[in-house]
């Protein structure tokens, strides 16, 4: 148990709080903390992406609202919040309104599984990898719902594309998770991270480089990012599955996409790049002579920074790809993922199993 939890329990027992409250409040606190964190990250991410693309194409990017445009995303969100609710004629009302909700809530749930630091693991489960697989399939359903209920042909094609793409991309993605499970012998994310803690060479990217590449590409497909942004291909389908959504409903899809980008990057960092572990093998806070509580606190902050740094680098690569690559066609995406990614991912499981066996013998 983390030191925070112990302090919290100590405090709650001293004020004579009932048992159920201690338990419920802890979850509530972590929920609020994580939810706020997600919203802030997404806001920063949207701005960062716009600034990065501007930098890449030698423009200035947003620079009107706030210093260097730092409040631009907030201004955009406020604008979208006040937009009129436009309801197209031929919609299937219930499904139409469920879709934007469905896109954001599962993503939020997946967010809880990530061990942010050794002390902050919002939802520590012995089968968090399995949960990750299960919950990650839900946002695709939202895309499908949006495409089918909008009563728009462009949306319909976008929804169909999202559906075919999801099936083909999630299989290699999940097969890579199996290879990680084989390496770590666990489905618990925290223990996966702890196995990678000694040095940079303990990171799973080193034995499992193939798995890392496959996971990264499949994650790009799941995120609907360029070059796989087919469901919302602007030049073909105007806005794809969310053509008929405006205002806050659109913002949900938009934020959901960015949140998914962030979360999947954090997952890649957790699974392959050692998660919150320091690449140096030690923490700066360990070197200082401080009382244990402060030291633990500083260490947690440091771990959080490491995780965010690794995630940030991955996101930078994703944005780089977006800035420089054209879009693939549906056909080629499917061929790529069924004929190349999936067989390679299966092959990778065998390699990892043999690697594990050899390591246990030698």
């Amino acid at each position: 148990m983390s030191i925070f939890y112990l302090i919290y329990i100590e405090f709650m027992i001293r004020i004579n709080a009932p048992h159920w409250l201690i338990f419920a409040l802890w979850h509530l606190i972590s929920f609020i903390f994580i939810a706020i964190l997600l919203v802030i990250t997404v806001i920063i991410l949207v701005l960062f992406e716009r600034k990065y693309l501007a930098f890449y194409t030698r423009r200035k990017g947003p620079n009107r609202v706030g210093t260097y445009g730092c409040l631009q995303t907030i201004a955009d969100a406020i604008k979208l919040l006040f937009k009129e609710n436009i309801e197209p004629k031929n919609i299937d009302k219930m499904i139409y309104y469920t879709a934007p909700l469905l896109v954001f809530s599962p993503i939020m749930t997946v967010w809880f599984l990530i061990p942010f630091t050794s002390g902050i693991i919002p939802f520590d489960s012995s089968c968090s990898l399995l949960l990750f697989m299960a919950i990650l399939s839900i946002p695709i359903l939202a895309t499908l719902f949006a495409g089918f209920s909008s009563g728009n042909k462009y949306s319909l094609i976008g929804g169909l594309r999202a559906c075919t793409q999801a099936i083909s991309s999630e299989i290699p993605l999940f097969l890579c998770l199996i290879s990680i499970s084989i390496l770590s012998g666990s489905m618990n994310l925290d223990s996966i991270v702890k196995m990678q803690n000694d040095s940079i060479f303990q990171w799973y990217i080193f034995p499992n480089i193939l798995g890392f590449i496959i996971f990264f590409i499949s994650a790009l497909i799941v995120m609907n990012r360029t070059p796989f942004d087919l469901p919302e291909a602007e030049s073909e389908l105007t806005a794809g599955y969310h053509s008929e959504y405006s205002g806050m409903k659109f913002a949900m899809f938009f934020l959901g996409e960015y949140a998914l980008t962030f979360i999947l990057s954090a997952f890649i960092a957790t699974l392959f790049l050692g998660g919150y572990n320091s690449p140096m093998g030690f923490y700066i806070s360990d070197l200082l002579n401080l009382p244990i509580i402060f030291q633990e606190f500083l260490k947690n902050i440091e771990q959080f920074i490491w995780l965010m740094l690794k995630t940030g680098i991955l996101i930078l690569i994703i944005m780089w790809i977006r800035a420089s690559y054209p879009r693939l066609t549906t056909e080629k995406t499917l061929i790529f993922s069924w004929y190349i990614l999936t067989p390679l991912a299966i092959f990778n499981i065998f390699i990892m199993a043999i690697y594990k066996l050899l390591r246990s013998i030698l």
Binding site: R59, S235, E236, S324, R327
Partner: protein, 372 residues
Amino acid sequence: MEVISQDRILDINIGPQHPSTHGVLRMVVSLCGETIININPIIGYLHRGLEKMAENRTYLQYLPIVDRIDYLSGFFCSYAYLNGIEKLLNITPSEKAKYIRTITMEMNRITSHLLWLGCFLMDLGASSPFFYAFIEREKIIDILEDLTGSRMMYNYYTLGGVKRDIDIDILNRIKEFSDHFETALKEYEDLIEGNPIFLSRTKNIGLINKETANQYSITGANLRASGIKKDLRKDSPYLIYNNIDFEVPVLNNEDSFSRFVIRIKEMRESKKIILQCYNWLINHIKDEEIKSNINFMHIKPEGKVISEVESPRGLLQCIIHADGTKKPYRIKWRTPSFYSVQLINNLAKNYKLPDLMSIFGSLDVIMPEVDR
């Protein structure tokens, strides 16, 4: 071919307002899944009656309108129109005027191709090349703005020459631009040409074979990408093109990719022509005669004439029927995009929906030119 039952076909309306129809083309596309069964291009959403307008205007009054026929290459339309009148009136522009016309037209060709490059890549889903192309395009447009006073609707040519003389400052800027243009072209090639996704989207897609090209009377870069070496600048040189050393790039692959390569090569050739014109003009900076002394307002030509020019999109013809009055009896424009747009059903049939954008984008169709 197997027969597809009617209930499996989805008719989808692409355009007139759509990000990748380059203006206001409307395409009624029949899809089976994502496979295109049939495309019915519908034009006319940008019809401004430019041919009819000629009939109730004097020759001078019609001159500024001519630039609007193709807003991306206004110089070519102006030249085609004025060259026709000059032929009827037996006016020969001075040597310097010819060189100025050539240098501006070639710069215009580069701007047009650059815009095409950006839009084509945008259609394929890459956003950055659009901005890169516009950085260079902006430089040329700035030069042309200082020379002509306008950024796109130049209205710069006049009877027997050009309206304003070119000065040493502008010539130096042109030189500076063309010296640096090679690095920009290299950058586009590095970014685009080797990209596997770009290759997979364009190679062996949208094949125009020689027969089809001739049947549809395709001209310009689209024709040259199909292996037919036809360029008016070489075949029947106008202006000063026979004094100038340049090549006409030809490729035999017939696909979208070769149309991309051809246009990049053409920009290189245009740059060569610009440099040669610069060398001539810098030596003849003192020449005064840049236009004829005939009063444009009172001309009354008579006869029929066809005047041609190799525009960025192909063969542009202006057919003038003059009846000896102040106003033309009839003016007919033969614009190259009008012929390219008809190809779309032939080319994109049986391809997938995303390929439609890559094929249509590669044809370099400009809607105002189609509708006129």
